[in-house]
Each structure stands twice: as C-alpha cells, then as structure tokens.
C-alpha cells in the first residue's frame, strides 16, 4: 500500500505572525501505485510538499499521511531521490545501495541478490565497485534511483530528479523511469518544473501556484494516455508529437502563465 494524503495542509516557515507562508490549504490524495507530478514555478512550495511526505519537514496546519498514518519522521517506506543525487561519496555504488538494506536487517545473501537485480535493471552491473565521483550525472542518478528502489518502498519521492542533468541524459532517464514504473509500479510523487516531463511521466499532474503555494488544478493524464495509446510509442519525442500531448502541455503552460499574469496585475 502507499496512499499519500494531504489534508488542509499549510506550512509557514518562521513564526505564524511574521513567517513566510509557503503552503496553504493543500488537499491532494495520491492513490496506491499512482504516479503524480507536481509542476509549478520555483518557490511555489512543491518541494516542501515532497519534504513533508519524506518526513524532513512538519506541516504547520493539517496532516500529511501515508496509508492513514500521519508522518512523523523519515523512513525507508518513503524512499527519496534528490535533485543533487546525495550519494555517499566515500561509498562505492554497491555500498551506497547496500546501506538501506542493512538498516532493514536484510540477510547478506538476500542483500547481494537484491542489489545484483537492481544493478542489472538500472544497467549498473559493471559499475558496482565505482565511486560516485567516477560516474556521470546520469549514472549517479541511476544509482540514487537504485538505492531507493531496492528498498521496495511503498512510496517513491522524486524531487526534480533530472533537473541537474543535461537535456539528452534527461530524456534517456525519463524513458527509463517510465520503463521502471511500468515494470515495478510504486506510488510516486514527482516534483518538477518541466511541463513536458510531468505530462510524459505522470498519471495525474497537479499545477501549483505561488505565495502561498496552493494546488490550482489537477489534470488526469492517464485517461488521455490510455485513450490515445501513448504507450505504443517507444520514444519520448514521438509521444511529445501527439496532438493530445501537445494539447495537455499547452493547457498547463497557459495555466502557469495566467498565474504569473495574475501576480503582475
């Protein structure tokens, strides 16, 4: 199971009187095995939403819960993939992936079996003994995804995971993530400011506004994807070329732009 629930969630950094109101009245339910992307301008609080599910931040108002249990602290049931990878530079690829399993007291035979499987799945088999600094950004992020996936978490939290990668690597990673998510579905909360990425990857896209951050609109991408059979196209550029894709993308752009215009008015 892995149902994420935001109920009337508000977040104020600093004191209630003079602090910065980052989030207000966030209501969102992410179903089990659903892939939801939050898009929004920088500073709209989308990362804060993710950090509250991860247990890195507390909600000032309302509750954030997973499977009905309010979140108190970070844990391996909610694995996080960070924008800047956050791999341990002194640990090899293998040991980076191993730490979470050791914390769960998984036996050593079982650990090596699971690590071998995830390395294989992420095309990292030959890099098990490498250190993070010896790998490209894309490879490092694969290790970070492997480190999260190997724990078999209920919930996968991805905070602009491809934001630090170059455009080509980014596309490859997006395709791989789709492959991974279809093969081994998880509840995913994916934060991004790239509209195409959100539409390509997610079942639903939540559009956020800024200061204070609120959810403006939630779009059901999955029904369109299934109706138009996006998955029959293997390459991301083919999907992005489809009329239904373009239509959705444009809708989100407009929605984000209206937001900016409203602020300037």
């Amino acid at each position: 199971m892995g149902v994420i629930q935001f109920e009337n969630v508000g977040k104020i950094f600093g004191s209630r009187a003079s602090g910065f109101e980052a989030l207000k009245d966030i209501n969102l339910e992410i179903r089990d095995k659903e892939f939801v992307a939050i898009v929004g301008p920088s500073g709209c609080g989308k990362t804060t939403c993710l950090r509250m599910v991860a247990g890195f931040e507390d909600a000032t108002d309302g509750t954030v819960s997973v499977d009905g249990t309010p979140i108190k602290r970070p844990g391996p049931d909610r694995a996080v993939v960070f924008q800047q990878f956050a791999l341990f530079p002194w640990k090899s690829v293998y040991d980076n992936i191993d730490l979470g399993l050791r914390n769960l007291n998984v036996g050593s035979a079982e650990r090596s079996k699971r690590i071998a499987a995830i390395l294989e799945l992420m095309n990292l088999t030959h890099y098990a003994k490498h250190f993070p600094h010896q790998l490209s950004g894309g490879m490092q992020q694969r290790v970070a995804i492997a480190r999260a996936y190997v724990l078999d978490p209920d919930v996968l939290l991805m905070d602009e995971p491809f934001g630090a990668l170059d455009a080509q690597t980014r596309v490859v990673m997006q395709e791989e993530l789709v492959r991974l998510a279809r093969k081994n579905p998880r509840t995913v909360l994916f934060i991004t400011h790239a509209v195409e990425e959100a539409v390509y990857l997610a079942d639903r896209v939540a559009i956020m506004t800024r200061a204070p951050g609120r959810i403006k609109e939630v779009l059901d991408v999955a029904s369109i994807r299934n109706a138009e059979d996006w998955d029959s196209h293997e390459k991301i550029e083919d999907v992005m070329d489809l009329e239904s894709f373009v239509h959705l993308r444009t809708h989100i752009w407009r929605s984000l732009r209206e937001e900016k215009a409203a602020q300037h008015a």
Partner: protein, 261 residues
C-alpha cells in the same frame, strides 16, 4: 597570467632559496663580524650534526634523543586525536554540547602549550607524563576544530539521505558524519602534528631527561652552540618529514573522494 610551475622548477627554486640562506649565513660567520660561539657556521653545524649521529651527547646519540622525543610526541598526538576528533564531531552534531563546551574551549586554546609547563611538571612529572600533557595541549585544538568544522559543514542532503534509508540517528554519526569529515580531520591532524611537535621540543627544554630539547639545553649549558643548532636542524627535518607524510595521506584521501585540485 598564471604560469604553471613544474615540479622540477619548484624543487629547483626551493634549493635556490636554501642555498641563498646558507650562503648568507656562511658569509656572516666567515666575515668575522660575529664570533663563532655567537653564530656557528653552517659547515660546523653540519659537522656537529653528522658527528652526533653516532656520538653520545647528554646521554644519547642524536637519533636516540630524536627517538625519545618522537615517542612522547606519538603518545601526546594520538591522545589528542583520540579525544579531540570524537569531541569535535559530537560538538558539531549536538548543539547542546557545542553551547556548553565551545566558550571554555575557545578561551583555553589561546593559552600557549608552554604555559602549561609548570602544571604539567607538577601533575604528571618530568618523565613521560608532563611532556605528553604539553604536546597534548598543542595538538588538541586543531583536532577538535577540524572535526567540528567537518561535522558542521556536512551536506545536509547526506544526513537526509541516511535518515530516509532508515539509519538510526546514533549510527548517522559513524555512517555519515565521520566519513564526511575525514578530509577536514586529516587537515586538522596535519596542523595538529606540527603544533604538537613544536610544543614538545619546547617542553623538553624545561622538563624531561632525554630528547632533542634536552640535548639542546645541555648544549647551551656547555656553550656548544653548534650542538644547539644541530638540534634545531633535526627538529626542522623531522617536522618537515611529518608534514610531508601527512600531506601524502591528505592527498590520497582527496583523490579517493574526487576532491583533487
């Protein structure tokens, strides 16, 4: 423009500096402006240095004195590292401990190690304990400060990563804080070794009954200024060797982390 200086050039320039210094020194002592006792010539010092390698003075040969000094140094230095590194890490991790210890530590570290000599002798004697306490006083602060800085400046994302991977918070110290601080700790140990070595020889001038410092005091008492100078040379050479060795360790660790510059 920043021209790159090759290793060979760098070594050459180092020798040039040394040659100028020795030339000036030799010139001064040959000119007759200063007496030989006042300033022994480099050549005399060299002769004395080589003679002391197998001739006893003040109870031991120069290597014997150096060995005695180095043993004390090793004890004091290791003690400082063994206490200072964990203390620094914990201060960087637990705010409360930081608040309690920092003011005291920041005041005490300005007391020069030599100032502890009377109490070191009183509390721990002039044999092994007193000198160890003095080298400890010299070597301790850099160990604490660099471990503290390492712990304070650990990437918060790495702590979060360890937390979300389910690492119990006490084990985060060993899994993240310590390894992340290693480069900073090693730099601290380098400074620490230098200061410790300096303080030790200073301490031996006053306490102890063997060691390079002791040998120098005996040289002074016998108006053998070339013996004193030979001691100074030995101290410098051992210090240089220590620093070079630790710098090598530092470089290896940085390379493993991909932090080369």
């Amino acid at each position: 423009m920043n021209r790159q200086i090759s290793l060979l050039q760098s070594i050459g320039l180092g020798f040039l500096g040394l040659a100028c210094f020795l030339g000036f020194w030799q010139g001064m002592s040959m000119s007759g402006l200063v007496s030989n006792i006042f300033l022994p010539s480099p050549f005399e010092v060299y002769e004395r240095f080589t003679a002391l390698i197998d001739r006893r003075f003040a109870g031991a040969t120069l290597p014997g004195h150096l060995g005695a000094s180095f043993m004390r140094f090793a004890y004091g230095f290791l003690l400082a590292a063994a206490i200072g590194i964990p203390l620094g890490l914990l201060m960087g991790w637990y705010q409360l401990l930081d608040e309690i210890v920092s003011p005291l530590f920041d005041a005490l570290r300005f007391v020069a190690p030599i100032a502890w000599v009377p109490f070191a002798a009183l509390w721990f004697g002039t044999g092994i304990g007193g000198p160890i306490m003095i080298i400890f006083a010299g070597a301790f602060p850099p160990c604490v400060i660099n471990a503290y800085r390492g712990a304070k400046f650990v990437d918060p994302r790495l702590i979060e990563a360890a937390n979300m991977l389910g690492t119990p918070s006490r084990r985060v110290i060993m899994e993240v804080l310590l390894p992340s601080s290693v480069p900073s700790i090693i730099s601290g140990l380098r400074v620490s070794a230098g200061l410790g070595w300096q303080s030790l020889v200073g301490a031996e001038l006053i306490v102890a009954s063997a060691g390079v410092g002791y040998m120098m005091v005996q040289g002074q008492a016998n108006v053998q200024t070339h013996t004193v100078m030979a001691g100074m040379v030995a101290i410098g050479l051992v210090g240089l060797a220590l620093d070079t060795a630790l710098r090598g360790v530092e470089r290896v660790i940085q390379k493993r982390r991909g932090l080369e510059n």
